[in-house]
Symmetry: C2
């Protein structure tokens, strides 16, 4: 997991905390650059998150919700922040259940990826949830959302229209496409 | 591009600026939630960025660089922030040239996506650069990097090892994989 090229490594000289909030915190790090000069890095700390690729009867489970950062609603795969000390796989099961009502009998890690490594340490653990059974939604109290189930063509149209416009959901759509190609090739 | 479900929409009541830096700014928005109650949203503003999927002679162009947010180096596709008023396509050509030395005769937008819509407005415009010719690198003065050219199997290995671990680069690897499947199917 590590990669330390000494010719590129920066050394932290000081860390100045700027803000600590409910979701994120902000600090400014002063660093020594590889040539010995000094640089400043604005860094966001985030608890990490999970996201779930779940397909029920050929339809991707999506959640429509308002995103204040964008000033509009967006369709995304079910996702949410990790709670303190929470196992990511359990968090994925929890978010799927809370946001869509579905429970899954099978869950597999697809990727763990950083969303914005240039300024943030947010990592998203993306899971594939299978063997789904319907149940009741239980969103957080400050979370208002609607579940949309979309077939492959609808997902492609939502991406073209910009209703789906976030990295994790577009990535999930590509993974789904490769699964469909794989099923076609193996005749499943 | 817009999607406004009135049942989900939040209304901004106040915006409190917390920090304005070189790369990002932070504000806290107080919002009226759909049920009339009040919520707080921590929001990062970012100028937006570009990233470039470029394959030369069957090898993906990657940049190894230190990421202070992660405390280690990471291999990513060439990318960088938009400068004020800069056209994203020109920025993509510029970043490719500055970070790898390569110039491209053909460039196509693949996707524009938000990296972390839950708390940030950062958008990345991902381009496909083709018809590449080599030249000299010219990184920014606080940017230290090394160019790595990796074939498809090496890219998959870097993803498994976590040396590639950011959303845009993993997304680019999936798009490349689909291009390779497409070429194979059409016999190109």
């Amino acid at each position: 997991m590590t990669n330390s090229n000494p010719k590129l490594t920066e050394k932290t000289i000081t860390t100045k905390p700027i803000f600590s909030g409910k979701v994120i915190s902000l600090q400014i790090d002063t660093v020594e650059l590889p040539d010995g000069s000094t640089g400043m890095r604005e860094i966001i700390r985030h608890p990490g998150a999970v996201a779930v690729l779940a397909v029920k009867d050929g339809r991707l489970l999506l959640v429509d919700q308002y995103r204040q950062a964008l000033g509009r609603c967006e369709l995304e795969i079910p996702a949410g922040k990790l709670e303190a000390g929470e196992d990511p796989m359990e968090a994925a099961r929890r978010e799927l259940r809370e946001e869509t009502g579905y429970q899954c009998a099978k869950i597999t890690l697809l990727h763990s990826f950083y969303t914005s490594p240039g300024f943030a340490d947010e990592i998203i653990h993306l899971y594939l949830a299978e063997e789904l059974t319907a149940g009741d939604m239980a969103p957080d109290e400050d979370e208002f959302l609607e579940v949309i189930e979309a077939n492959y063509e609808e997902v492609q149209r939502y991406i073209e229209e910009g209703r789906i416009s976030d990295a994790k959901t577009i990535l999930a759509a590509y993974i789904w496409r490769l699964q469909l190609i794989g099923s076609r090739e193996t005749g499943k």
